[in-house]
């Protein structure tokens, strides 16, 4: 069995504020194997970006601090490295691309200068050689006329082009892990598809792992091998992408899937998850999802009175199971290769507390998709003629 590339164990992050600590990430555990794409899914403010930032130790400190846990990368605990050692990991072993390509490039330098700076720093090559590598990496991400583009300023490029440049910059040093923090959120839909296709292609060619942070389930379905769902600072469900989409266990995951529009389904209104995302400064007690949890509400309706409590949530009185408000569930391996954190799943209490580690690679790869689409094109052509 291959060694995991990145292993996050029980990561806890806190932000000190004048009104007490905020805990955006609690006991997060995640494993990424070489060549794998792991998607971290969740609403805004659930802690997914903080988790990603703490891998590179980019959390501003103060106010942020890591309370505990381990981040093992190729056998080294990143949290124990000195700032100088960390600098040689950043960009070289682990690269990151950001959500907003319009502002992620320095406006006063040409893109060539910016790519070359990282290359000369991490690969110790001269500037002439670095320009060659930079040109090659621009070509790899599909930028036309890379030789001239090296001398362009960021404001001369479109958003999609800039995101390609960001990817070229991130990949120019051949990192083993790429953290993509909502890489397509700021782009329009056709460009999104191109950028994701590009990431898949580069991953196939280089065998690097990707931690994909997103709230777009379509992106997850297309790209991820393993999915981790995060809600209010905790990872609530981990499974392979096929399994998660097939059989979501956690009520929050179920809610997410219900709120995605489906082709062919005739509905007036899309389902939503009732209530609002809890404020990290005032998380609910017990399971943090209980004020919005339909499963708890339904079970409470038929449960004996001593097991039910009434809570006030966004101005409404709701009945929920008492256990959900007291006892916070932790993700357990309920079925083989499927972890979830909910008391109300059958078999939760007897399930084992194991490390969430999945060496899974999705079956579908882009070659199949390409040949499929070629066949489809042929079919259409035949139909036309």
């Amino acid at each position: 069995m291959a060694q995991p590339l990145l292993e996050i164990k029980n990561l806890n992050v806190a932000f000190e504020t004048s009104r007490g600590d905020i805990r955006p990430v609690r006991d997060a555990s995640l494993t990424i194997y070489p060549g794998q794409t792991v998607a971290l899914v969740g609403e805004s403010g659930c802690g997914k970006s903080v988790t990603a930032m703490s891998i590179l130790r980019l959390i501003p400190s103060p106010p942020g601090k890591v309370l505990g846990g381990q981040i093992n990368f190729s056998g080294r605990d990143l949290l124990a490295l000195s700032e100088k050692e960390m600098r040689s990991v950043r960009g070289k072993d682990i690269a990151m691309i950001f959500q907003e390509p319009m502002t992620s490039l320095n406006p006063v330098y040409t893109i060539g200068d910016q790519i070359v700076e990282a290359i000369t720093l991490h690969q110790g090559v001269g500037s002439r050689k670095a320009y060659e590598i930079a040109e090659q990496s621009l070509r790899d991400v599909g930028i036309a006329d890379p030789h001239r583009r090296l001398h362009s300023y960021p404001h001369e490029m479109s958003g999609g082009m800039r995101q390609r440049v960001m990817i070229a910059m991130a990949l120019s040093c051949q990192p083993k892990l790429l953290i993509a923090d909502e890489p397509t959120t700021a782009l329009d839909v056709t460009i999104q598809a191109q950028i994701l296709e590009l990431l898949r292609k580069l991953q196939r060619e280089r065998g690097m792992a990707i931690l994909l942070i997103t709230h777009d389930l379509g992106v997850v379905a297309e790209n991820a091998d393993v999915v981790a769902v995060m809600y209010a600072s905790r990872i609530v469900e981990v499974a392979t992408v096929e399994r998660l989409f097939d059989k979501p266990m956690h009520p929050y995951t179920e809610g997410l899937f219900r709120s995605v529009p489906k082709l062919g389904a005739d509905v007036q209104r899309l389902d939503t998850i009732a209530g609002t995302v809890p404020n990290p400064a005032r998380f609910p007690s017990g399971c943090k999802f209980h004020p919005r949890c339909h499963r708890s509400h339904q079970l409470a309706a038929s449960a004996p009175a001593e097991q039910v409590v009434e809570i006030a949530s966004s101005g409404q009185k709701l009945k929920v199971l008492k256990r959900c408000t007291v006892d916070e569930p932790i993700a357990r391996e309920i079925e083989p290769k499927h972890w979830a954190a909910c008391h109300q799943i059958t078999g939760y209490d007897s399930a084992a507390l194991t490390m969430t580690s999945l060496m899974h690679k999705r079956e579908v790869n882009a070659n199949v998709i390409e040949s499929d689409s070629r066949d489809a094109g042929k079919v259409i052509q035949e139909a036309v003629t």
Partner: protein, 437 residues
């Protein structure tokens, strides 16, 4: 290698821009026709082609915008005149003839024998800067390197070549000419040195403007115009060096405060407030009183106490910039702190300091004039506009209007020119005013 194989595919489709944009990474894979060496043998890095449209960085664009404004042009024109006078002062106003023929037929060139190394260096640097700027063949970095190298070489040569006499007798040649020992002499435009006290013509002291002395003479008999021309050097250097020192300190201190924020920022701001509360004029008076008069000391002291404004500006910019995505991306790429602070953040936040610096130069010139007017500035033999102003009221001869007016005008115009440039630069950098056409 996978990368190389991919590059060949990409190279063929790279010509087809449409396909690249539409298809991105999934661009159609062309049949393997072109040899793979095509991209290996081709020199991969060349400077931008001359036919490309002119690309300017934001700072260069701001610079161009600044000097398309009329105020800045007027200011720059005046500064250019002052620079010209400063560089060519000994060739414009000197008691020594440029060339002269003795009675025995020998030709002598006393002006060149009396040059100081600094005179030669200034002229040489002036022409090398002008030449490099006009030829436009070198890039910015190469130009700076060329000028620095040229200056160093010329400085060495100048010390070797020039050998001015220790005891200078300014009236020497006038006396010889009057005695008929010199048959022919060609003088500079103003035939008086700045420190020529006309010992042979005591009646020339304290004369109002006339055809002999265009702007009159001082109480010691020195020619006003000559003295004002030579004073341009002090006016320029005191402003530039004092402001340079203050900008350097301000950028480093402000940058560190803004980037690290938190406790460092808090402590830094308190130190800054303490320094800001020191009365500058009184500090300078105390220092000149205890360490003697020196233009260099004055520049350093002005620089050391006036960096607080620059530090505040840079701190505010850096506080804003440190949260920007490209700074975060730089940290995530593992760039060292020095590069993030000074290569990536500074050019994005320097604009307000540039504006402040042009006001700072004006302030430093005024401060020097003030000190010299109070008689605590430069030594009496060093020409300075403020020191000339001082003579307008001293000597017990009442108010000598020509001694007050001309240096006063020069100070006023120079300060005004720098302020005009500063205003134009502020307008050019103000995003609210950017939408003009």
């Amino acid at each position: 290698m996978k990368g190389e194989a991919a590059s060949t595919n990409m190279s063929q489709s790279a010509t087809d821009f449409e396909a690249m944009v539409a298809g991105g990474a999934a661009a159609p894979v062309a049949a393997a026709g072109e040899p793979q060496e095509r991209f290996v043998s081709e020199p991969s890095y060349m400077p931008p082609q001359p036919d490309e449209p002119v690309r300017r960085t934001l700072l260069m664009q701001a610079f161009v915008d600044t000097f398309t404004r009329r105020g800045a042009r007027l200011g720059a024109a005046w500064i250019a005149i002052v620079v010209f006078f400063a560089v060519f002062a000994p060739f414009l106003a000197s008691s020594f003839p440029v060339a002269m023929q003795m009675r025995d037929g020998r030709w002598l060139f006393p002006l060149f024998r009396n040059l100081y190394p600094i005179d030669v260096v200034l002229v040489a640097v002036f022409f090398s800067v002008l030449g490099i700027a006009l030829s436009r063949r070198l890039g910015l970095g190469a130009s700076v390197m060329a000028v620095v190298a040229m200056s160093a070489l010329v400085t060495l040569l100048a010390f070797w070549l020039t050998n001015p006499p220790k005891n200078i007798v300014y009236e020497e040649y006038r006396v010889q000419q009057a005695a008929g020992e010199i048959t022919r002499a060609y003088h500079t435009l103003i035939p008086y040195s700045a420190n020529d006290r006309m010992n042979d013509r005591p009646e020339d002291r304290l004369q109002a403007p006339s055809r002999v002395h265009w702007l009159g003479t001082t109480i010691f008999g020195e020619d006003m115009l000559s003295r004002m021309i030579h004073a341009c050097r002090v006016a320029l250097t005191i402003g530039l060096i004092a402001t340079g020192i203050s900008a350097l300190i301000g950028i480093i201190v402000g940058g560190v405060m803004g980037y690290f924020a938190g406790t460092i920022d808090l402590m830094g701001m308190r130190i800054l407030e303490i320094i800001q509360s020191i009365p500058r004029l009184i500090l300078l008076l105390i220092i000149t009183a205890s360490f003697g008069r020196s233009i260099y000391l004055m520049m350093i002291v002005i620089g050391l106490v006036s960096w607080t404004g620059d530090a505040r500006f840079i701190r505010a910019e850096f506080l804003k910039l440190r949260k920007q995505d490209f700074v975060q991306a730089g940290i995530a790429a593992g760039l060292p702190l020095r590069s993030i602070l000074f290569k990536h953040m500074l050019p994005n936040g320097i604009a307000p300091v540039l504006v402040d610096a042009s006001f700072g130069i004006a302030g430093a010139i005024l401060l020097e004039s003030t000190l010299s007017f109070l008689g605590l500035g430069l030594a009496p033999e060093d020409p300075s506009w403020g020191q000339l102003l001082n003579q307008a009221r001293s000597g017990g001869t009442g108010f000598n209007w020509w001694i007050a007016t001309f240096p006063g005008m020069a100070i006023f115009l120079t300060v005004f020119a720098y302020i005009l440039i500063g205003e134009a630069m502020r307008d050019a950098l103000d995003p609210k005013l950017l939408k003009r056409d």
